[in-house]
């Protein structure tokens, strides 16, 4: 397994763990343990915490699992799929971070952690896609 692929898997696992924790908290009706006073509860109870009736944390978990599955193979199509998923995750994380700062006036440290994971995954997956060795001329 290439270093970039292994690093991506580690970061995706970290992101999945964060998303899984937030999903469990969402369904148990509790409040996430938060380093910033009230920030996580404010974000979690806002209308942005759900999308189409599904908790955003659950959607994030699904995204991380999909990234992990795309990392199982080392071919052009799998590398493109990882890049697409990571870029979509990065874009949505950027939107949610904007919402936290500009609209909710609250920062959820777990969400920031997940946004960092998605940013790293986007950078790793782009580097992996563009830097992969050419498949070589067909003889």
């Amino acid at each position: 397994m290439s270093r970039l692929r292994a690093a991506s898997a580690v970061v995706a696992l970290a992101g999945a763990a964060i998303a899984a924790y937030l999903t469990v908290v969402h369904y148990s009706g509790g409040t996430p343990v938060c380093a910033v006073a009230h920030g996580c509860a404010t974000v979690q109870q806002s209308r942005y915490a759900e999308l189409g009736g599904a908790p955003v944390a659950l959607l994030g978990l699904a995204g991380y699992v999909a990234i992990l599955l795309s990392l199982a193979r080392e071919d052009e199509r799998a590398r493109t799929a990882t890049a697409f998923l990571a870029l979509a995750g990065f874009g949505f994380s950027a939107w949610l971070t904007y919402v936290e700062v500009a609209r909710l006036d609250a920062i959820c440290s777990w969400c920031v952690g997940s946004a960092i994971c998605m940013t790293l995954l986007a950078a790793l997956s782009i580097t992996r896609l563009l830097g992969a060795p050419p498949s070589g001329p067909r003889a």
Partner: protein
Amino acid sequence: MSSDPVPTKRELRERRRAERLAAEHADAAAVARRARTLRLLMAAGVAALVVAVAAIASSSGGKPAPRAATADLFRGIPERNGVLGDRAAPLTVTEYVDLQCPVCAATARDTLPALVRDYVRTGKVELEARTLHFIGPDSERAARVAAGAARQGRLWPFLEAFYAAQGPENSGYVTDEFLRRVAAAAGVDADAALATANGAAAQQRLDRASADARRLGIDATPAFTVARGDGAPHVLASGAHDARSLAAALDAELRR
């Protein structure tokens, strides 16, 4: 004196072949790079589209605005500055609440409808609400905006809508956005209520509620006080009370 040996025909053929293969490799690599860049740009474009749709859905959808559990409860009953009902009613009942208090929410859900139906609508009682803020900062923020709702003659619907959306105590859920949704559900002008919340009128209302509660020895919510006409109020009930026991206490007051 030495000179480079002249390459043989075979060596020349092999050199040319190696150069051709290297050129083919370079061409293939360039084509592959272009194809990957194109794929990456397409993936980024589709990802941007997906994110844009999700962001629009996230902004316009999400959790519905809280609905007042008893939206019709107060319909047609006049409210002025937080006082509900007929001014000429023989008794004035004042409920002291903290908007974060779950027992207050339960009382509003289970006890208030009968109180309003049997005593306020019938002109026996005028009902006032005073918002305390002893639970924490979220209570104060809520109480301030409630003062704005009272100014618009919509305090009671605001209280109902707030209870319907009540969150965990002191979790920081009482944001401006939350209060706007509660205000919208209660038919309160949110901008005006939030503006009032930061002013002296809201502060005076909070101070008065706290001072009166202290004077009457109220240390739990909800607490109901009762006064006849312009007489001094006294505590009628404190803490959790069902509709029947509150009605019995009110009937006793009315018979006096």
